[in-house]
């Protein structure tokens, strides 16, 4: 068994690869000690190799992991497995968003990642959903259903939140504001894609890829480009880490 653990800022993901297929996966909240959470998750398996990725990767290496790779490389590996030959990845995680370009062999050719602010990340969407009193699931659905679009100008989480509040108080419909929030993230991702350069198709990984409105908006911003979403977008990094373990 090859186990990949992705210790992310919001959740810990685990993928178990038996050498031929993905046999198990789990997702749990990171909590205060993500490495303990991860250790519990892998305890049921007799692992040959454990590879850690994500923010807590070095913490995991100090406790149980045999090897460590960055989430950039892990996503590259996971997507190349799911969509062989796919040249571009957009990954939106809890604390960061990244665009990765791959060569024909699936190696990282170049990448872009947001810097220290939360703009354009899953966390940004979470905070905005909360200020509109939506669950995350409802948030994407409502935004998708909006018939009219207003615009949010600020990309900063703090300023965007006050913008959302002032929109609420101007009587703008909730789903329209939800749509605006999604659009602002999509614009940011499209900007990163344009800066790095992308070709067809683009794979969309990370938990935010489960949001139907984000997928729809990303497609609209890249006419003629296919947007591929893995079956289990959250565990792309964990799967990539597990696959990396086969070569350790």
């Amino acid at each position: 068994m090859y186990i990949g653990v992705d210790l992310g800022s919001r959740t810990v993901k685990m993928a178990v690869w038996d050498g031929e297929r993905l046999v198990e996966h789990r997702i749990a909240a990171s909590g205060f000690a993500p490495h303990r959470q991860a250790e519990e998750m892998i305890a049921d398996y007799r692992a040959k190799v454990v590879v850690a990725t994500g923010y807590g990767r070095h913490l995991a290496a100090g406790h149980f992991a045999d090897a460590v790779i960055t989430e950039i490389r892990a996503h590259a590996r996971g997507i190349s497995h799911e969509f062989p030959g796919c040249p571009t990845i957009v990954d939106v995680g809890g604390q960061d968003s990244k665009v990765i370009s791959l060569d024909a062999a699936g190696r990282v050719r170049n990448f872009q990642m947001n810097d220290k602010c939360a703009a354009g990340t899953g966390r940004f969407l979470e905070i905005m959903a909360a200020s509109l009193a939506y669950t995350l699931e409802e948030f994407g659905q409502a935004a998708l259903a909006a018939d009219h679009e207003v615009q949010i100008n600020s990309m900063c989480t703090v300023f965007a939140e006050s913008e959302v509040i002032s929109m609420k108080n101007r009587g703008i419909a909730r789903e329209q504001i939800a749509r605006a929030v999604h659009s602002s993230v999509a614009d940011r991702l499209a900007g990163m894609l344009a800066r790095l350069g992308h070709s067809d198709p683009v794979a969309f990984s990370g938990g935010v890829a489960r949001n139907p409105c984000m997928v729809d908006l990303l497609k609209k911003r890249m006419p003629g480009v296919r947007v591929l979403v893995p079956k289990l977008p959250d565990i792309t990094g964990a799967l990539g880490a597990a696959l990396h373990g086969t070569g350790v």
């Binding site: 923010y55 960055t70 950039i72 490389r73 190696r107 170049n110 990642m113 810097d115 220290k116």
Partner: protein, 431 residues
Amino acid sequence: MTATPFEIKAYPEMWAGLDMDVPRFDKARLMLGEMYQKSFLSQAKRPTGMAYFDNMIAEIHGGRIKELLATKAEGRPVIGTFCVYIPEEIVLAAGGICVGLCGGSQGSVPDAETILPRNICPMVKSAFGFKAGRICPYFQAVDFVYGETTCDAKKKTWEILDTMVPTYVMEIPQLKRQRDLDLWLAEVKDFKAKVEEVAGRTITETDLAAAVKIMNNKRKALQRLNSLRHHNPTPISGKDGLLIEQIAFYDEPVRFTKKVNALCDELEERIKAGVAVPTKNAIRVMVAGTPMALPNWKIHNLVEGTGAVIVNEESCIGTRYFKDCIDENATGMEGMLAALTDRYKEIDCSCFTPNDERITQVIKEFRDSHAQGIINYSLQFCHTYNIEEVRIRQACEREAIPYLFIESDYSAEDIGQLQTRIEAFLEQIGG
């Protein structure tokens, strides 16, 4: 490695005499000492010649300050600067000391932000904060500051700094046409006149020739060190290399040159013996961009923390400071000042437009240093380096050079993200 804990030496009486905020400064001293121990003294396979530079850090707020005060007591000028465009030769020729003032610490930023706007360059804020908070003995010891016009943040900060310490400004043009170079030479002459006025003596041709020689020798020693770092495998860490480039801004030049050359002798021996720092197959990275002022070791700590090594800094605290020498064959004061200005105009700061020379220089240093990738580093809000990044990136794409751009300040907020980006970059290079 030292058995006893490393400490920056304390001189509370001297500091009080300099009107410093002593209790506050003493805390900063202890933090800097800890940071130094962790970042520098813990390194394996350090050359023995680094002991001198370790001591320069231990005595950064003591021994060197005493020398500055002794110079002042003799009526000789001590001048603080913030830019490699200010000609040190002229200060030396007048028997004075020129020190590059610090601006590389997060610690003094809050002091600056009580006065200056927040959204400006961290180096300008840090430097200004050192004066505003009275927590830099160099700032307290200088007779005056000579600023320049290389960026808007500095240019406007001089006006406010001048209320705390006399601040003069040299206009550095932003194009290199003949009329700009004429202006530049006139500015150099004004600088000389000001230094002469404070020193109470006229600089002779003999004085200037001797000073030019001293500075050229210092540049040659730093060039020698840089080319030894380019050896593959490299005999010295990037952190130690950067440290020496930082110390170059406040140490006495003749002694410094001697010590750098002694270290270079040792590095040559190490190369012969096959010593590799940290290991033979370490990934080699070159840094380009904005200066990393003492104690800004953020990028070097992150990169070398992963087992890679930095082999070159294309920066003002780096090659821009020492890559060019002044022609020593010029004669007559007029000719010598023209030769001096000619050398200074070769510094390819991004405040110039166009600045094609720098793009070429970055690629040249990449080849010379046998690096495997370039990290381009820009301080936040440094518009000219941030925008010039586009051209450096395009050049790297053209030359198929692995490239990473980092925009950051002195805070620790982005360490997690930077670590991921740097590691991913090294994975990309390592394949």
